[in-house]
């Protein structure tokens, strides 16, 4: 009887130890699996994002803008595009509804390169629900670039794609060049874009 009870106790102890180890291993496995799922989900999401961005690049690069179309100045007056593009300009296009962090990051980088590009050569095109947004945006971010609201016809050519984007417009060339969608996760790529456009479009300004 004693031997039987001893054996039973041993089996029970072994079962408890086994269940404990099994539970711990399962927890570790779950953790590894969760990390792996998270990593794959992020990779998948980035792949989607890249694919989408490349599509936009193909769509926008070389697109011809009708320079007679108008944008709205801070004062509320309208101004045709050909009056804005009297020289090479870097255009930053965004919407009030885009993610705030994405816009803030780009404003920081624009401020960083503003001296090299020239404040006058940076133009902001925005879609906003009210004119106060443009006034407040300049004040809050302490920027000196010109900011314009798009007319509805121009908005069709430069639509809000839920992400802010950059492009270059040159004098006497109504075509969009060097279209680029910055991603806040890939800050180095945005830096590279700025170095590239500095060399290509603003070399004189850079030397100054």
């Amino acid at each position: 009887m004693r031997m039987f009870l001893g054996l039973l106790l041993l089996i029970l102890l072994a079962t408890v130890v086994h269940l404990y180890i099994l539970n711990n291993t399962q927890k570790e496995m779950n953790l590894i699996l969760n990390h792996e799922i998270e990593r794959m989900a992020k990779e998948n999401e980035m792949a989607f994002l890249h694919q989408g961005n490349r599509k936009y690049e193909i769509m926008f690069n070389g697109r011809c803008l009708a320079t007679s179309q108008k944008v709205i100045k801070e004062s509320g007056d309208s101004v045709p595009l050909d009056q804005l593009f009297r020289g090479t300009k870097l255009v930053f296009r965004y919407s009030e509804l885009n993610c705030n962090t994405c816009i803030d990051k780009q404003i920081d980088i624009l401020k960083k390169y503003a001296a090299k590009i020239g404040n006058d050569n940076i133009i902001l095109f925005v879609s906003s629900t009210n004119s106060r947004y443009r006034i407040q945006f300049k004040k809050v971010n302490n920027i000196h670039f010109s900011i314009y609201e798009l007319s509805s016809s121009l908005e069709k050519q430069l639509p809000n794609i839920d992400l802010p984007y950059y492009f270059i417009m040159e004098k006497d060339n109504p075509r969009i060049n060097s279209f680029f969608i910055p991603q806040k996760e890939l800050h180095q790529l945005t830096e590279e874009y700025f170095r590239e456009i500095l060399n290509k479009y603003f070399p004189k300004t850079t030397k100054q």
């Binding site: 269940l19 953790l31 998270e38 694919q51 106060r132």
Partner: protein, 386 residues
């Protein structure tokens, strides 16, 4: 010896029956909300549900209180609390629209916040969430910081107050082990409970650009979260699934393959959730237009509308910026009132006996495009259907 055996047997039994904490309460009363996207009725006339004394409040405009981008509005203590995400501050206006004060303590200091992401009002205190510094912070009526609570690994996207709890929800990829979906903070005993109560579905539902993820009314908060087709209720510390929603078609609820082209006709998710005592209101974008699905809690029926209108105010469309069991608040930009004269200005459609016509007319005549917005504050009738 017998006791030891009994104890060990009990230990084995309990060990094998251990249950994860914070799992949602199982509920057999989960109702299905069927949203028929092809059966869209013209517009919902709100005038049948609201009392005639709609408050029209033009907000004071001056350099100190210019509002750039309204993210959230709360009406309590006879005060409108407005979160302006652009200027990163909360502005307070009294119920006549006069600017009272503002919470503007952004900065790197320990008493300051980096960015206000969400807020609730508790008594006269304002609780804000600051995801950048991973904290929720309480400021008193003098805007001194009175409490700061660390929110490790939790980004607050939606916040509601349900005394004594602050309910908070996340809206991120819920696959990570640490990625909690809900946090409930008890302001009395200072305890917080994180929870990841539901596993993500194999789905592409992501409520991008969601403005209203949590809806408070009648002592409970309803909330939705990405990668799930369920609307949950939080009551105190209890989380219960209450509704599942399903669009009749064009809903992108399947896992999209990398090379699969996404149709622009797809309904990608929900952008707003509100509740009253009788209804749950879901806002979703369909082909770049917002649709309003109104679910009657008693009848368990859902009807979809192109918009919500107030017939008594010249068919003015009402986009809810705040809603609970007592009121709807809609914010109108001056441009939307100044340039509504497509064929006939909405003022012309208002009955000349309506006293609001004269008030609106006077407000509009003093409006400039850069003026602060105008608040339309509607109170529900007791026998309201909504």
């Amino acid at each position: 010896m017998k006791n030891i055996i009994a104890f060990l047997s009990l230990a084995v039994f309990l060990f094998s029956c251990s249950k994860k904490m914070n799992a949602p309460e199982p509920s057999r009363q989960v109702s299905e909300m069927k949203i028929d996207v092809d059966k869209v009725t013209d517009s919902y006339d709100l005038s049948q549900d609201i009392s005639s004394d709609v408050k029209i409040v033009p907000l004071e405009t001056n350099e100190n209180c210019l509002i750039g981008n309204i993210f959230k509005i709360i009406y309590t203590n006879q005060t409108y609390y407005i979160l302006d995400k652009l200027s990163n501050q909360i502005l307070l206006f009294d119920d006549k629209g006069k600017f009272v004060s503002k919470l503007n303590r952004s900065g790197p200091g320990p008493q300051e916040y980096v960015k206000i992401d969400e807020f609730v009002v508790v008594g006269e205190d304002i609780w804000i969430s600051d995801n950048a510094s991973k904290r929720i912070i309480c400021y008193n009526k003098d805007y001194s910081m009175v409490e700061s609570v660390g929110m490790k690994d939790f980004w607050v996207y939606g916040m509601a107050y349900n005394a004594p709890y602050i309910h908070m929800v996340n809206n991120w990829i819920p696959s990570g082990a640490k990625n909690h979906q809900v946090c409930i903070y008890n302001i009395h005993n200072k305890k917080k409970h994180y929870s990841k109560p539901f596993n993500p579905l194999d789905t592409d539902i992501f409520h991008r650009g969601i403005k209203q993820q949590i809806a408070y009314a009648e002592n409970s908060s309803l909330f939705i979260i990405s990668y799930n087709d369920t609307i949950f209720r939080m009551e105190g510390e209890k989380i219960t699934p209450v509704y599942t929603y399903a669009f009749s078609k064009r809903f992108n609820n399947g896992q999209r393959k990398l090379n699969e082209k996404e149709s622009p006709d797809n309904i990608k998710g929900i952008i707003g959730l509100y509740q009253t005592s009788k209804s749950v209101i879901i806002l979703y974008p369909d082909r770049k237009r917002t649709r309003f699905a109104i679910y009657n809690k008693a009848e368990k029926q859902c009807h979809v509308y192109i918009n919500i209108k107030d017939v008594s105010l010249g068919n003015m469309s009402i986009f809810p910026d705040y809603m609970d069991q007592e009121a709807i608040i809609s914010i109108k930009e001056p441009s939307s009132l100044l340039y509504l004269n497509n064929e006939e200005h909405f003022l012309e459609k208002i009955d000349s006996n309506n006293p609001k016509k004269e008030q609106l007319s006077s407000i509009i005549s003093n409006l400039k495009e850069e003026s602060n917005p105008i608040i339309f504050h509607y109170t529900f009738k007791k026998d309201s259907k909504l």
